[in-house]
Amino acid sequence: MDDGRMHDGNRTDMALISATGLGKHVEGPTGRLDILDDVSLEVNAGETIAITGASGSGKTTLLSLLAGLDLPSGGSVRLDGHVLESMGEEARAHLRLKLVGFVFQSFHLLPALTAEENVLLPLELDGTPDAPARARDALASVGLRERGAHYPYQLSGGEQQRVAIARAFVHGPRILFADEPTGNLDHASRDAIADLLFALNREHHTTLVVVTHDPAMAARCARVYDLVDGRLRAHAA
């Protein structure tokens, strides 16, 4: 979005992500269910934060609100100064394209596209020139230079997540949201993926928001928050 780029230079002094009094509730068979209640959070550019909590505590819901994938029932989210609730879905999609990268627990690679084509997606959506070369570089940076022509089903779980990480970083997003990025992996792959994620984060100076169960991964972030009963509590890092 032109608007986002125009203000890039002016926003370095303010929080890149700012959530105020966020609430999210849904209507269930037994009545209203509060998932998030009065959550406030500020994340500055280049920071790394982890959000932990028990299953069903609302971690992913919070992540989806911060990334503008969903809208809160109450409160407000600002992303690089843009008030998400006041934007339509198309405008939010455009903002995500410019600003955000994602890594998911279940990788979410498109099965019909090769590894390289999956990495190409964000670049091509944005109309970036020399997209194929950049996609190949991104694959090389996650150690999969030779696997570009492979389809997701031909790759192991760890390799699929590397492709997803390459896709998340390839267009140089300022914020990276990672939802349990090592949740579906074995022990060895888990460490390797976490190393890769943090190394690339440092290299690209990205703001990283990780939702995780894994205490070791959370410990690598500058700040850690615990989500309990829909409320956010700061943890000592």
Partner: protein, 827 residues
């Protein structure tokens, strides 16, 4: 990045997806069915219309029930036009002990003026010629074979001995396209001399003129003003139009059958699209999460479908053209030689491609359109619900598309509605039956063996899908059983239903003074069931005082029919095989003239009881009030008439007699002498006509069966689509059961039970529905009162169909049973 590029990239791998393949196969099938039938129908129609001028044999013709006054010929010559007279009539030819009904054209030396009469001489050299000289006749191949004669032999027609001067290869046929009887051409003076063209004979007289455009126009204007009451002008345009209407009707029946197959394939499209949409949910959610606009996401999805669909439509159109060409080549014997040059039309195949795409869009759009409302947050929550009501109205789209296409084809929303109601009725019946069976088995399934219980529960679990599957397959099977088993049985039954001594010969043109002699002669030959009725040939000239030319009939063809000659008869009592359904049969000696009409004739001309009809017979006018409406059983082969007058007024009209009688087969040779003694009589062999009619019905049925085979294919596609739809669930279930220790045999048994039941439901529905439809046809159309559906072949066919459905279903799940459970769970 454009959605197209993403779509093409995705497609490179996705074209292997079973749901996409089923979807494309359904489209291909629709286009082929519609295209092949449409192309063939149009080509045949065009071929026949093309030959219309040749069919007349001149630039303008005058058709009349009796020979035209000489002034018509003289006036043409005065205008510098060529003129020729001819007559057409049926008559039986004899050669030794053999006899053969012929469709005879008797022409003067100038005939034909347009088109070609081609005959082959003794040394097989074809030549273009005119009608033969007196004393000679040309017979076509069929006539020569059935009479076992060769060129140069002699044959007896109308009591005259004629030399066969050549084998008729091609003639400008003024009559039927598909000749009921073998053809012959003789000299007009011979036909006159033999008395074959008498006042009451079935001969149609025609005067043809040809020449300069101005001359023909001038003649047309003059003739119009001077036409006798029983005559009308025949122009190539009029013949073209009449032929086009006749072929249009036959064509639209076949096209409608093909359209129903295409709509059935539409169900497969809808099912596959549903599954495809479900598969695409994650992708759309991800693309939206990554920042793709909804236009991009939906556009790429549309392109993923549009690219293979367009290709399939083109390929389908190509295959349809090929099939239609092959069928045209196969059927060319039935068409006039000149019609075989008709070019292959491309329009219908392209139209079929468009209709196929419309079916695809109509049936696939609703599930795919729902993807537009997938929120990006679905990337985290797979079970996210779609906004329910937003696109639900779209589900009316397939119904509208189906109704619209049927209405377009039949030209009537009413017919579309009735047809849709019938289909809905059949579907409702299947649904109820399926529900009942499912309820029954669920109730008693607990007592079954575990494998069978598993199969039964699979059907009840996927109840919606089971219903859809059984409905679609049942409809396809019903159509097929109806055509393959019930229709031939109906025809056989109809023939057998005729009493063995049903009249099998007609003799026409019997003069009043000949009546007693003819009856005696036939009695001596062993003829029985002799029945004769008077016949007067006239024309309907006014209805309720309004000239028929000015009455606004429903169509051009009805108007033309109203102006043609009509045969009237009379009798004191109601003839056999007639039933008065409204009004009263004539009281004896009524003062005012009264008329009784067959109900079909009445409906055709929109008449009602009490109407005044004016007929012109010779120079006499009869003004009669419509006092009764009859239903005539035409299948009885008695002498029957559409129009009957009260006897008091009828017998005053100039008339001859028509008689029917029964002569045991094999005695036809005895009629040769009878024919020679009574040269003015025309003999008509009904058995022969019936056999030929049955042959034609057989050909039409074969064509319709060929078209309806598409319905069965569409039914198989629906099954395939339904299997695809539940494939993921099946795989998961099978993997789970295998992991829990189920043996492959048990799973196979469960699948066999599931599809066996599905096959049984479809087979049973098809069996009952086709039997009911057959019984209705027997009663309403063929008037067979004791028709019993052919149960043994019907049951065998239904069992085979059910077994095929079960086998197809089982084959579809084979892959699931043979995949490692580990792999399945990983997927």
């Amino acid at each position: 990045m454009t959605g197209t590029r993403h779509a093409l990239r995705t497609l490179r791998r996705e074209w292997r997806l079973p749901e996409l393949r089923t979807l494309i196969a359904a489209l291909l099938l629709s286009v082929i069915a519609l295209g092949a039938v449409g192309t063939l129908a149009v080509r045949v129609q065009r071929a026949v219309v093309m030959s219309a001028a040749e069919l007349i044999g001149g630039d303008l013709g005058i058709d009349a029930a009796s020979s035209l006054p000489a002034v018509f010929m003289r006036h043409a010559q005065t205008l510098g036009l060529h003129a020729s007279a001819l007559a057409e009539f049926p008559s039986v030819a004899f050669a030794g002990d053999r006899s053969q009904l012929l469709s005879i054209t008797a022409g003067d030396g100038a005939w034909p003026l347009r088109g070609k009469l081609i005959v082959a001489g003794p040394r097989d050299r074809s030549r273009v010629t005119h009608a033969p000289a007196p004393g000679a006749i040309y017979l076509d191949h069929r006539a020569l074979v059935s009479l076992q004669l060769n060129v140069g032999d002699r044959v007896q027609v109308g009591g005259m001995d004629l030399v066969i001067a050549g084998q008729l290869e091609q003639q400008p046929g003024g009559g039927d396209l598909i000749a009921l009887a073998p053809r012959a051409v003789m000299a007009l003076p011979d036909a006159r001399a033999a008395g074959l063209l008498g006042a009451g004979s079935r001969a149609r007289h025609r005067l043809l003129v040809a020449g300069s455009v101005n001359g023909v126009d001038a003649y047309r204007a003059w003739a119009k003003a001077n036409l006798p009451a029983d005559a009308h002008l025949v122009t190539p345009e009029e013949v073209q139009q009449r032929l086009a209407v006749a072929f249009g009707r036959a064509g639209s029946f076949l096209r409608l059958a093909a359209l129903l197959a295409a709509l059935l394939a539409g169900i497969a499209v809808a099912l596959s699209a549903q599954r495809y949409a479900r598969r695409k949910t994650d992708e759309i959610a991800l693309l939206r999460a990554l920042g793709a606009s909804s236009r991009f996401a939906f556009g790429s999805l549309a392109w993923t479908l549009a690219v293979p669909a367009l290709l399939a439509a083109l390929i389908g159109a190509g295959v349809a053209l090929g099939l239609a060409s092959a069928a045209f080549a196969y059927a060319h014997d039935l068409l006039p030689a000149s019609a075989q040059r008709a070019p292959l039309p491309f329009g219908p195949a392209l139209a079929a491609a468009c209709v196929g795409l419309a079916v695809l869009a109509g049936f696939a759009l609703p599930p795919l359109a729902r993807l537009r409302s997938i929120p990006p947050v679905a990337v985290f929550r797979r079970n996210i619900k779609l906004a329910p009501q937003r696109f639900d109205l779209l589900y009316a789209l397939p119904v509208l598309v189906a109704l619209g296409l049927i209405a377009l084809e039949t030209g009537s929303w009413k017919i579309a509605g009735v047809l849709a109601a019938c289909l809905a009725g059949a579907a409702l019946f299947t649904t109820l039956l399926t529900f009942a069976i499912l309820w029954f088995i669920r109730r008693y399934a607990v007592r079954l063996n575990p494998s069978l219980r598993l199969g039964v529960s699979a059907l009840t679990r996927r109840r919606g899908l089971s219903l859809l599957q059984s409905c679609a397959i049942s409809l396809g099977l019903t159509a097929l059983l109806l055509l393959a088993v019930v229709a031939p049985a109906l025809l056989d039954n109809w023939r057998r239903d005729l009493p063995p001594d049903t009249p099998n010969w007609f003799v026409v043109n019997v003069q009043a003074e000949q009546r007693a002699g003819v009856r005696d002669a036939l009695d001596k030959l062993g003829a029985t069931h002799f029945n004769d009725m008077p016949v007067a040939v006239g024309k309907l000239v006014a209805i309720n005082g309004v000239d028929v030319e000015r009455v606004p009939f429903r169509g051009q063809d009805v108007s033309q029919e109203a102006s043609q000659q009509v045969r009237l008869s009379w009798n004191c009592t109601l003839p056999p095989a007639n039933r008065v359904i409204e009004g009263q049969w004539f009281a004896p000696d009524t003062r005012d003239a009264q008329v009784s009409l067959d109900v079909a004739w009445l409906r055709r001309f929109d008449l009602e009881l009490g109407d005044e009809l004016e007929f012109l017979v010779g120079n006499q006018r009869v003004d009669a009030r419509l006092t009764s409406i009859r239903e005539v059983d035409w299948s009885r082969f008695n002498v029957n008439f559409f129009v009957m007058l009260d006897p008091a007024h009828g017998k005053a009209l100039p008339h001859t007699w028509i008689a029917s009688f029964y002569l045991p087969p094999g005695h036809a040779g005895a009629l040769a002498a009878f024919s020679r003694d009574n040269p003015n009589l025309s003999l008509i062999d009904v058995d022969e006509l019936l056999d030929r009619a049955r042959q034609i019905v057989g050909q039409v049925t074969a064509a319709a069966r060929w078209v309806l085979a598409f319905s069965l294919l569409a039914g198989a596609l629906v099954l395939a689509a339904a299997l695809t739809m539940s494939a993921a669930e099946r795989r998961h279930e099978a993997a789970l059961l295998r992991t829990l220790g189920a043996r492959r045999g048990q799973l196979r048994m469960a699948a066999l039970c599931e599809f066996g039941l599905l096959g049984a439901i479809s087979g049973l529905t098809a069996l009952l529905a086709s039997a009911v439809a057959g019984a209705w046809l027997a009663h309403a159309v063929f008037r067979i009162h004791a028709f019993s559906p052919p149960w043994p072949p019907l049951i065998i066919a239904a069992v085979i169909a059910a077994a095929v459905v079960a086998a197809l279903g089982l084959a579809g799940t084979r892959k699931v049973l043979h995949t490692s459970p580990l792999l399945l769970l990983r997927r």
